[in-house]
Structure formats: structure tokens, C-alpha cells
């Protein structure tokens, strides 16, 4: 148990609630790159990077890891986790282990489930003697790769059951509608540009009309750039997070970095083009609901963070005729927390309705 949890436990013990206030609601956004948690009795949203790095204990002594977050097993296995894993991997030009790929639990990292359980337990914090209800995010079935989401959903269900939490799964993009479309009576089209996937939900008056996902999002951009320029994908991710802007000229002096940012721009454009085409196709093929009202398109997710993303999206979508009327295209209030906040809202609303 981490020191943070222990401190939190002591503090919460001192102001232990009466039985009727014993319920805690959670929203848990389990993304390919980040896991994010909103909690009803905590006024802060916490996040951790969903990556880890297996290191040789003899090469890096534990006493050197004073400021680093890590997991240690009784068998002397050592995993650096979260942001520190990402930094270490970049420093040593190593590829990090990622428990998830394409928005789903990775078939290559089955051993990571234990590490993931520990990271989620730590992120959620103390829930001792509480009734805890949690909505966790799941992607929709992708339309462009042949993968099922059943295993993913069951693994996280099992992890939460293991921690002692009542749980239900909610589509990731639908959660954005819960958090961002209250003024439109929870109607809208939500796009979640995560690391592994782009998820789309069409919500109508709080009801999920249609959802789908594509396998192209942030990781796809990074991988394509890495292949084009013969680099390690996490180095590209690092540069993307530090320098990427989709508005105006590239103002970077370093020639190599400039080339990477330019390549990123081309793939951002390709990603948006691809997404818009898929939205139109899905609407034409699968959406039966007659929607007379104009609906907003709300964009969220870490991949939508670079400055100018919304303008680029508006610019590209204006070249297409959409099968529905758009009232506005806007970014979520906080693209990193919109999903977890939406999940929290849904959990509290469900508990309230019981």
C-alpha cells in the first residue's frame, strides 16, 4: 500500500461517515494512455499514465528509485510505473510496456493485469468500509479492425470486483455526452480521440442511439510518423506532447524536431479525414433515429489537445455533406477529464434513481 493511501486512510478514518452517507460513486476512464478517476467524495480528478517498464533490479538499485513510482514483487521483479516509466523509457530509448493497445487490454501483456490492478487500486484511493459504485469506460466495437471488446470489459470488471467495487460499463464517448451536453438535453455527437482509438457516440435525450470506434487515433499517428522517419514511437509521442500545434507555422528551430512536427501535422489531417468519412458512413448505414434538431459535435480526448485541432476539424468537415445538422463543433471543457466526469455523473444519477 502506498504512503498516499495510508495518509488518506487515516484522514478519512477521523471523519468516518454515518451509515447513510456510506456510498461513494466513481467514474473510471480506462484509456490506452491514461487512467483517470473522478470520485464523488473527492473534489479532485486524478490520473496516472497507463504504462510500465520492467527493469532489472540489479541494474537499477531500489535505493536509487527514491522519487520514482514503482511496483515490487516478492519475487524481486521490479516495474517502474506511470509517468516515470515513460520518462525512463525515453531516456534509455526503450519501448515501454503498455497494458492496452487500440483501446483494449493487450493480448501481449496478460501478465500486466496484476500491475494494472495495483495502479487502479492506488488511483481510486481508500474505500475501506464503504459501498462503492463505479461506472468504467469501455470502447465500442471497432469498425475497421476485427477485435472484440468482451475480454476487455470482463478483465476490468474482474479487477473492480477484486477491489470490492460494484461496477457497470459505459461507452466512453457516451460519457462525454453526459458531462458536456447537459444544455442540449444530453443530445449530441461525441468524439473521443484517445491514444488507441477514436470513439464516437450519438446520444439522443440521454439515450445511446449508436456507438462505434475506429482503430486510428493518437497511436496511429505516432506509429506512422515513427515508421516514416525511422524512430521509436514513444519518442514521437514525447515530441508530440511537447511541441505539437496545428495552428500557424512550425516555429521550432531544431531541424529534426521540425521534420517530426511537420510529419505529425500530415497524419493529424489524415486522421481527421478518415474519422469524418467513417462518421458519415456509420450514420448512413446504421443510424435509424430521425433527428430533426441540430446537434453539437463535442470533441474530447488527449489526441485533440494540440492547439488548432478543433479549427482543423471544422475546416476538414466543412468539405463534406453531413447526414445530420450540426449546431456547433466544440471542445470538451477538459478533454482529459470529460469521460471520467461523465461516468461519475452517470453513476450518481443511477444511484439516485434507485
Amino acid at each position: 500500500m502506498s504512503e498516499d493511501i495510508m495518509k488518506e486512510e487515516i484522514a478519512e478514518e477521523q471523519m468516518k461517515p454515518k451509515k447513510k452517507d456510506n456510498i461513494i460513486c466513481l467514474g473510471l476512464d480506462i484509456g490506452t494512455m491514461y487512467i483517470c478517476c473522478s470520485r464523488s467524495n473527492r473534489d479532485e480528478v486524478k490520473t496516472t499514465r497507463n504504462v510500465f517498464l520492467s527493469v532489472d533490479k540489479d541494474e537499477i538499485g531500489i535505493n536509487k528509485l527514491t522519487d520514482v513510482s514503482y511496483v515490487k514483487t516478492d519475487d524481486d521483479e521490479l516495474y517502474i510505473i506511470g509517468n516515470d516509466a515513460f520518462d525512463f523509457a525515453n531516456l534509455f530509448a526503450q519501448n515501454i510496456s503498455r497494458p492496452m493497445e487500440h483501446g483494449l487490454i493487450s493480448p501481449k501483456e496478460i501478465a500486466a493485469i496484476d500491475v494494472l490492478t495495483l495502479m487502479i487500486t492506488d488511483l481510486i484511493g481508500n474505500i475501506k468500509d464503504r459501498d462503492v459504485y463505479c461506472s468504467f469506460s469501455v470502447p465500442a466495437k471497432p469498425v475497421d479492425i476485427d477485435r472484440s471488446v468482451i475480454y476487455h470489459e470482463n478483465v476490468f470488471g474482474k479487477i473492480l470486483s477484486n477491489i470490492g467495487i460494484n461496477h457497470t460499463s459505459i461507452n466512453e464517448a457516451m460519457a462525454i455526452i453526459y458531462s458536456e451536453c447537459a444544455k442540449e438535453n444530453f443530445s449530441g455527437v461525441a468524439l473521443s480521440f484517445g491514444a488507441g482509438m477514436m470513439n464516437c457516440a450519438i446520444g439522443f435525450k440521454g439515450i445511446q442511439a449508436h456507438t462505434f470506434s475506429t482503430s486510428r487515433s493518437g497511436d496511429w499517428i505516432d506509429t506512422q510518423v515513427a515508421i516514416s522517419l525511422d524512430m521509436i514511437p514513444n519518442r514521437v509521442t514525447n515530441i508530440k506532447e511537447k511541441y505539437m500545434s496545428l495552428s500557424g507555422d512550425v516555429k521550432i528551430k531544431n531541424k529534426k524536431t521540425k521534420r517530426i512536427v511537420e510529419a505529425l501535422y500530415y497524419y493529424y489531417k489524415a486522421l481527421i479525414e478518415y474519422t469524418v468519412k467513417k462518421i458519415i458512413k456509420e450514420f448512413d448505414d446504421k443510424v435509424d433515429v430521425e433527428i430533426d434538431e441540430a446537434m453539437p459535435i463535442v470533441i474530447s480526448g488527449g489526441t485533440s489537445l494540440p492547439e488548432g485541432f478543433i479549427d482543423l476539424f471544422k475546416n476538414i468537415i466543412s468539405n463534406y455533406e453531413l447526414p445530420f445538422e450540426v449546431s456547433e463543433i466544440r471542445a470538451a471543457n477538459n478533454p482529459l477529464t470529460a469521460v471520467s466526469n461523465g461516468l461519475l455523473i452517470k453513476t450518481i444519477a443511477d444511484i439516485k434513481g434507485k
Partner: protein, 195 residues
Amino acid sequence: MKKLKLVIKEKGMYIRLPGMAAFRTPAKVDVTKIKMSTLTQVLHSHGVSNYELTSVSKTGEILNKWTKDDINLSNKKQKEEPTNINSDKLDRLETILLTLVSKKDSEKNKNSEQIINRLLRIESILKSGGQFTSHFDVNNKIPVVEEMEDQYIPDIDISDMQIKGKTSETIERLSKKDIDDTVDLLSNLTKNGGK
């Protein structure tokens, strides 16, 4: 209609069969629409050595069971006498032929003899275990995987693990009022059936 189900009990394998989404084992999968030779080849290439095929009736009754060894033997026999026929089509053909026999028995003895001979051949094929189908349906990409509950997810054991350091960071302060207001709107909308 009979169904052919593949049962793999061994845990922790990730299998991708043609025309289906990948799945994990242990699992029970409907493989009626997959060509037998393709199925055995794919299983071989995945290194699956321990599996069973069961023929299941419409009511769920197990009609027959084959292990990998039985299938290998049957494949050898098949080379001598090809019997790769769709069971559904066989059922329909059988019904049509029986009707014809009853109608035309008195009129054309020669024809009925031929028909009876065909029926006997079909019967012998069915008795030999009824081989299933030749093509998989490309449109049916969703596998009918009977989930064996949580068995296929490895057990979670974190009792021997310790986490150290600050693993998470705060990225936003929640506005309790905004959350409560949105919850009220959503609850009212749900209560009033979207009105």
C-alpha cells in the same frame, strides 16, 4: 439444424479463426460455418493440440464428440470417400426425396429405386458423423463464443506486490455544484422518459 462447436479447455491462448473476431481460451465457439480443413490447419498453426468438436442439436443435446485424433483419422478416410456435405442441405434434401418417394412409388419404380439408393447413401454419410459445411460466411464476423464466465481471465493476485511513490497526479478540481446540477438534469430526463 445441427451445430458444430469447438471446445478448447486450455487457458490463456489467443485464437483468431477465419471470419471471426479473435477470442481467448478456454472457450466454446460455434464453428459450423468454417471449413473443417481450414479449422484444423488454423488450430495447428496456433499450436492448439488439445481440443474437441461437438455436434449439438437444435435443443442443445450433444449428438457426437470428436477429439483431435478422431478428426485426423476421419480426414484420412475422407480422402477415400469425400463426404463434406452441408447437414442442413442434407436434411432438406432428405425431406424432398421422401415426399417424392411416397408420391411416385407406384408410378416409376426405377426412379424410386434410384431415390432409395441415394437415401441410403445419405444415411450412411450422416451415420459416419455428418461433416459440416464447406464455406464460412464472410459477413458473419462476430463469433458465437459461449463465454465460460471469468475462467479465461487469469486470476488476479496482488498479495505479493507493493506499490511505492506517487503514482498519480491531480489534473482538475471538480465543481461539485456543476456535477450535482448535471446529475439532477440527467435524473429528471431519465425519470420522465426523455421528455
